[in-house]
């Protein structure tokens, strides 16, 4: 378990969080390489199926990044995401999966540093939690 590196799938909304992650890059911030980004048009495009699929395929964590409430490029997509994630958290909790493995963060295009912090923090927390119990070997 010493060398365990959590695998994180990060669904990033194109307008805010993906751009925030770009800013982290442009600012040459350094952070942990555990999160692999997938660009989506809006955090509202993140179907709960994607998240559960990722967990079922062995992801240790899933990060959903969207615009701050009120700032969604598509007006209200992120409000839907918030509701879905809340309900999903209730679900995965009932399924015995730690809630912390699913994280929703509002990160704007100007918050490169926040993106860095979130990825680092999530990596640390997932390391503490250990590998996902849904890893394929079962």
């Amino acid at each position: 378990m010493e060398n365990y590196e959590p695998k994180i799938i990060a669904f990033l909304c194109k307008w805010c969080t993906y751009a925030g992650a770009d800013l982290a890059g442009v600012s040459r911030l350094k952070f942990s390489p555990n999160a692999i980004p997938i660009r989506v048009m809006c955090s509202g495009r993140v179907d709960p199926s994607f998240i559960l699929d990722a967990f079922s395929k062995g992801a240790d964590g899933v990060l959903v990044g969207g615009c701050h409430p009120g700032d969604c490029h598509y007006a209200q997509g992120n409000y839907k995401t918030l509701r879905r994630v809340k309900l999903l958290k209730a679900l995965i909790k009932e399924m015995g999966l730690e809630e912390e493995r699913l994280r929703l963060e509002w990160i704007s295009a100007s918050e490169g540093n926040k993106f860095k912090e979130v990825v680092n923090d999530m990596t640390i927390k997932l390391k503490e939690l250990g590998p996902s119990p849904l890893k394929k070997e079962e």
Partner: protein, 661 residues
């Protein structure tokens, strides 16, 4: 060549970006790993993929390897997605079958461990290869354009933008929240570096805007809501009740001369009073009064009505209601300007507490020939003349601790102007300027600053003021001369703070209505800081002036022109090309449950009932022009009938799979 065929031939081009990517990521290894993937017919690297030879290489390879889809593993798609899409189009491919894997911003620039960065780059690229394999060949959607524009904000930027668009031949609505256009520039005395009288150069433009056949002035109005999309916005404008029928009003002035209620004049920065029915300043455009209901005796106490009595033509209308008008427009220019950071926030300088500690804008009114003192510089506390004056620069600017972290840009120059004009008026006066750095990067600015010191002998002291307090009738300024290392104490008659500037009040609400972004300081955020400085991230919405960041007059005017030219170039074609990456409803799957209809923010979906073989068929119908492609419906659709073009759910599962394998 059928590019939707089931066995795709994907070409993957991995960019070194000099050493930007290759310095951290083993690009050869990326190419080597990717080449093992099913469907990948070519994987290679090049030092600068976006360069001319790089693009040529890409086109040649597409032809040689008979590629039908392309992945470029390089920088952020925000930067060069279009470049590479056009390049693949030139090579005969469908641009929507070219995808970017971002291995620079999201990988090489943010990781130090070469091995891990390379692994991550491989995963990112693999996921994009999976995506491109499923991408369909698509054609752009054409949308008609409403060739009218709205400019929000009637300061110099807004006026200039409106004039430029109107001169291009298109109807333009100029929306201003105050009763007159003119903005901050109308308040200024003289302008640097030429010392022209601000009003002398602005008022002709204000009049031109009001008389222009293509410009409709809507003052005392605010944006209520915005819907629609580029080329076809619907903007609701709230016309606040002026309580004066402007169609009848001749602007004779009887009403405000007789009005008994007096309140501090906003235009004069509180240096003089105005009536409750008022025009903000004599040169106002339109030159028609409004009743300030907060301070009107009739509205507050039910008495008076003197204005109604003295108005010979009966233009006063106490019952006037606010009015909402809806305007169809193709483009929006935001020019809402700035405001001074509140003086009250600088407690160590006694801001707001001591009458003789004033802001730069107030000093402009003291200097102005049309100001309440006729240009005479006096102490607001007692009206006595000013002999010793202290100018404090960076008042609230460049202060990450308490105030604004950024440089407000215009203050160095206007402080030099203030000191110069003071010395022109008070020859035996002493002007002290406390500064940290003097920034004069503009045409003829440095020369102007030299005149202030060399000819007018303003004493520049390099050091920040720490405290200002009243001692008797003087204000005592504690500063330091960092060049000598001595603490400085000056007993002055007047202290002028070069206040930081910040975006206008209400920018946050407006930003939300327009669905555009603001930066961490509240200024409007441009689509690209260097290459698209006057555009918002939302197409069809442009910026002019200080709403985007601190700017002086020439810069504001140039940006207004730039925004107008963007609008005009958009209006030069009849149709807009819209990305086809939108929703699609599979009518054979849709059961008409209605979930998507309730959640679509654009109302792009509606319920439709048809009859098929004698049976009622319910389903959701998509309006392609309205759909913006957010995909919220697709995620929510419980039966999987709503899909996103080139972003289908099963495709995402494959991307997730290769990332996690």
């Amino acid at each position: 060549m059928d590019s939707n065929s089931s066995s795709p031939r994907v070409g993957v081009f991995v960019c070194h970006c000099g050493s930007n990517i290759a310095g951290t990521v083993d690009v050869e290894k990326v190419a080597q790993e990717i080449s093992k993937m099913e469907g990948v017919a070519y994987a290679g690297t090049y030092i600068y993929m976006c360069s001319d030879p790089g693009q040529k290489l890409m086109r040649e390879t597409i032809e040689k390897e008979k590629l039908d889809r392309v992945v470029v593993a390089a920088c952020s798609p925000t930067l060069h997605e279009k470049t590479f899409q056009i390049n693949s189009k030139n090579a005969g491919l469908n641009p929507y079958q070219c995808e970017i894997a971002n291995i620079r911003e999201h990988c090489s620039w943010v990781h130090e461990d070469n091995k891990k960065a390379t692994e991550k780059a491989i995963k990112i690229t693999k996921s994009i290869v999976e995506k491109v394999k499923e991408d369909k060949s698509l054609t752009d959607i054409e949308v008609p354009i409403t060739k009218k524009a709205i400019v929000i904000g009637g300061g110099v930027s807004g006026i200039q933008a409106a004039l430029d668009i109107a001169n291009g031949g298109y109807k333009t609505y100029l929306i201003e929240k105050d009763s007159s256009i003119g903005g901050k520039m109308a308040k200024l005395s003289e302008t640097f570096p030429t010392l022209d009288c601000s009003q002398c150069i602005l008022t002709p433009k204000m009049v031109e805007a009001s008389n222009h056949p293509n410009i409709e002035l809507m003052t005392y109005s605010e944006v209520e809501s915005v819907s629609g999309y580029v080329g076809n916005f619907k903007v609701k404008i709230k016309k606040k009740p002026t309580s004066v029928n402007w169609d009848l009003c001749t602007g004779c002035g009887d009403c405000y001369n007789k009005c008994p209620a007096k309140v501090p004049s906003e235009f004069q920065e509180g240096l003089s009073k105005r009536a409750a029915i008022y025009i903000p300043f004599p040169q106002a455009v339109p030159n028609k009064p409004v009743i300030d209901r907060e301070n009107c005796l009739y509205y507050q106490k039910g008495i008076c009505k003197i204005c109604e009595k003295v108005c010979k033509i009966g233009a006063i209308d106490f019952d006037m209601k606010e009015d909402i008008v809806e305007i169809d427009t193709g483009a929006i220019v935001v020019a809402t300007g700035y405001r001074e950071y509140p003086l009250e926030n600088l407690t160590e300088y006694g801001g707001g507490k001591y009458p003789n500690v004033i802001s730069g804008l107030k000093f402009e009114r003291l200097l102005s020939a049309s100001g309440p003192t006729g240009g005479q510089i006096i102490r607001p506390s007692d009206g006595k003349s000013v002999k010793d004056i202290v100018f404090v620069q960076c008042a609230g600017s460049r202060d990450i601790e308490e105030h604004k972290p950024y440089c407000s840009k215009i203050c160095c120059m206007y402080t030099a102007k203030h000191a110069m004009l003071f010395k022109h008026k008070v020859h035996d006066g002493n002007a002290y300027v406390f500064y940290i750095d003097v920034r004069t990067a503009g045409k003829d600015y440095e020369e102007f600053y030299y005149r202030t010191t060399e000819e007018d002998h303003a004493l520049y002291t390099r050091g920040k003021v720490s405290k200002i307090f009243e001692d008797g009738e003087k204000v005592v300024v504690w500063g330091v001369d960092t060049l000598t290392g001595k603490k400085v104490e000056i007993k002055a008659d007047l202290a002028v703070l070069a206040m930081a500037i910040e975006p206008s009040v209400g920018i946050k609400e407006l930003q939300q209505k327009l669905k555009i972004s603001i930066d961490e300081n509240g200024f409007l955020k441009e689509a690209h800081p260097k290459l698209r400085p006057v555009e918002s991230m939302t197409s069809g919405i442009f910026f002019a002036g200080a709403a985007q960041g601190p700017k002086d007059i020439p810069e504001s005017v140039s940006q207004a022109g730039a925004a107008a030219s963007k609008v005009l170039s958009m209006f030069s074609s009849n149709m807009l090309h819209k990305e086809p990456l939108i929703c699609e409803i599979d009518e054979d799957v849709c059961s008409g449950c209605g979930v998507c209809i309730a959640l679509c923010p654009y109302k792009a979906l509606e319920a439709e009932i048809t009859t098929k073989e004698g049976k009622e068929v319910k389903r959701s119908k998509l309006n392609e022009a309205l759909c913006q492609g957010c995909g919220t419906c697709s995620s929510a659709c419980p039966s999987g009938a709503a899909t996103m073009r080139n972003d289908e759910t099963k495709n995402m599962f494959k991307m997730i799979e290769v990332i996690l394998e």
